[in-house]
Symmetry: C2
């Protein structure tokens, strides 16, 4: 029997745990699910005979070391800042490790010692980061192995509501952390490179410079730029590509309406509003508009943002109940962003029967034998229910598959790493297809941004 | 003979020093001008027989204490963060002190001991803060002493170019620190209270919610909101006033054009631009606009910001040379704000013959015997030349006058303080009139924001 220790049994661990339990018989696995809440761990194991659910405190050094020693491999689904304690023990005790989180500088610092001990610390093997790395590197490596030269790479990902549950005007519901959605784009100016020129988009323009994406069978989407488009440029071998761009996917029309909230100042998280607790939704909205003795809040907002009365944006704002004079915010010392999150949560939370959807879209532009070509790769994954969501599947399954393949010696190159090498992405992408995570690759005429090679 | 020590002989000290030298004969003064640069100190004393210019290092404890001991009163015109060393010595040695800077928490902490020793540490007695406090408190005290009830206070100040030197389309030149002008409004969301309702203006709307001001003989101005409108609400006794608003004055049309630079992202100081040194002005502008294979930078900007070709905004942008493909930025690792400051400095620097102008405008709304009334007070000061600028006069003269009046015992209430008491502001405002710093007060019909008392 081989022992797997999974630390953290939260939302993103559901599909991961189910996969391992399903394989436990054929693969001879004993699985320990460790969580601060024993109840949560038990819920996920469901009395499976090859599973053991335990209450686990990451700061209890003795317990931590005992459990890691007991295991053949450790999966950490903890919040990112807690991985390091686990990693240090894995290094000392000599255990492989898997996480879905970004490689922190402290994690990277362990690389030499991890290699010396012949261990594998696999990171960024969830959805984004994770499936994006693997699906991009597969195509990029195919192109360059075939002597193609990469000239464009664009990559988009979004967590959305599935078409069958899409029943509000924004075509959006919270499928993950609502706070991140409200604060999206506030980390700093978006930077990318487009046809050889560095481009910068400030926050106040971010949601007005979107790009359309068409996914067969699912219609049209839009994407706004991520802050960190260039983070993986060198890692992916794209230093000579003229265009490198990453973005976040929404349904068409979301960004134009969201921009109204941005422009008003409702997404601001930098100050506390006076008397936020007893403020009505209408007063909240009014506090971002000039005073007028007779004009209504509605007309002031329409005027300030130049919204025609028959513009769908207006209906979207009404749907959020922003002008309701009865509903109270009820949050003490809250920032505008916290208040907006509360208002949106009433409208954008998933109902028990709702399903979520993950959409990923890559564009690969390249030159081969003097000719410009393009491959587009798209993946759509729809959740089964509120436990085995598309998010839980796409984050958890690659982690689970990688864990087994490391355990079985199929993945063997040691080091602190991310899944950009063929040894890793090829078998994992292949197995993901069995679970409905399938990329459709199509060759299309090269579009790029400068199809006629005009200089500007 | 009485000894005055003036530490710091920079731009804002010119009028201050001239005032003291002019009074040195009649008032029996010996004046020591101490600056890191002995040359600068000498330039300001000009071999005056009652003056002594010395090289002075604020971090040389021995020299600092010797000079403070020698003096009867100390004026610190140092950068704000350096006052505290001087203040501590003044407290130990037992000397009065005057600064034009905001009272820091550390300075405020000295209050009890300063009072115990019967000393006066007078702060915020320049222009803004300084003349604004004095001129506002004079009218507020008159109103409330007369049983009036304050319902509205608005206060505006701006450093501008004098009409005779106003020869660019922006009607603006740098008369003080250019960096502060570029970064204006970025400290945080502007907050104020208007007819009893707290209002918030985010940075991206700040320059689009201006208010017009008419100054007799000088025409129309506009003002955008300061971040800290409520800072002095309690200090001025305005806790019950329905409207408290402070703003910065520009000529009409400045803000609408400046907003274009804000919206593009050119005022951003949070990131370093790639290859800033070798970038042309045109490339700088283009980096904030989407790529297009054939459209020019000009048409892309006009389209993105919806600027008609016959809109004066367009001429203002052309005047800045933002589309020049020959001129290089020439700044290594620069932020957009640093690059913009450089571009503007070429166009907005004062010529040797140019004069500056300070404009201050207060509105006082109050209720007396059931009737609503309003007093407007305005002050315009024009510089003599590039040494005795309006800024140097309005910052330095109140400091100088206060210094003499403390020395002569005319101002005698001890403590760490700002000039909000009659004992201080009355004689100083009166003497300032001799130097052309004159407030015109006029009673006008109460305007406020809700003259007909309509609720909303």
């Amino acid at each position: 029997m081989k022992n797997i220790l999974v630390i953290g049994a939260g939302r993103s661990a559901s599909s991961l745990i189910r996969y391992l339990l399903d394989k436990s018989e054929s693969e001879n696995l004993n699985i320990t699910i460790a969580d601060l809440s024993e109840e949560l761990a038990k819920k996920k194991t469901g009395n499976h005979k090859n599973a053991r659910a335990i209450a686990f405190d990451i700061f209890n050094e003795k317990q931590r070391r005992e459990e890691i020693t007991r295991a053949n491999i450790v999966v950490s689904m903890l919040p990112a800042h807690l991985h390091l304690e686990v990693a240090k023990d894995c290094l000392t005790i000599g255990r492989n490790m898997v996480t879905a989180s970004y490689v922190s500088p402290a994690m990277q610092d362990l690389d030499k010692e991890v290699q010396k001990k012949g261990l594998i610390f696999m990171n960024e093997i969830g959805l984004d980061p994770g499936i994006d790395h693997m699906s991009a590197m597969k195509v990029i490596n195919e192109i360059t192995t075939n002597s193609g030269k990469m000239i464009l790479f664009e990559s988009f990902c979004g967590g959305l509501v599935a078409p069958e549950s899409d029943n509000n005007l924004w075509n959006y519901k919270f499928t993950w952390n609502p706070r991140n959605v409200v604060l999206a784009g506030q980390g700093g100016t978006a930077k990318f490179i487009q046809e050889g020129t560095y481009k910068y988009i400030p926050y106040n323009k971010l949601f007005r410079r979107t790009e359309f994406l068409e996914v067969e069978g699912f219609g049209r989407f839009e994407a706004y730029a991520n802050r960190d488009s260039l983070k993986y440029r060198s890692v992916y071998g794209l230093d000579d590509a003229l265009t490198v761009y990453r973005g976040t996917i929404r349904r068409v029309g979301y960004s134009r309406a969201w921009d109204i909230l941005v422009q008003l100042g409702m997404t601001d998280d930098s100050f506390i509003m006076e008397n936020s607790e007893n403020m009505s939704y209408r007063e909240f909205t009014n506090s971002f508009l000039p005073y007028h003795p007779t004009d209504t809040v509605e007309i002031k907002l329409r005027h300030a943002q130049k919204i025609d009365q028959d513009d769908i944006i207006w209906d979207k704002l009404l749907e959020l109940d922003l002008f309701n004079a009865e509903k109270k915010v009820g949050l003490k010392d809250a920032t505008p962003a916290q208040i907006l999150e509360k208002i949106l949560s009433e409208k954008w939370s998933l109902k028990p029967e709702d399903k979520d959807m993950i959409v990923m879209y890559h564009k690969f532009g390249y030159e081969l034998d003097g000719e410009k070509k393009q491959i587009d790769a798209t993946m759509v994954c729809i959740g089964d229910d509120q436990t085995y969501t598309a998010m839980a599947k796409t984050v958890g399954l690659p982690v689970a598959i990688a864990t087994l393949k490391i355990l079985n010696g199929e993945i063997k190159t040691p080091g602190v790493q991310i899944p950009i090498h063929k040894e890793v992405y090829e078998p994992i992408l292949k197995e993901l297809e069995e679970y409905g995570v399938i990329f459709k690759e199509v060759e299309i005429p090269y579009l790029g941004y400068n199809p006629y090679n005009v200089s500007s």
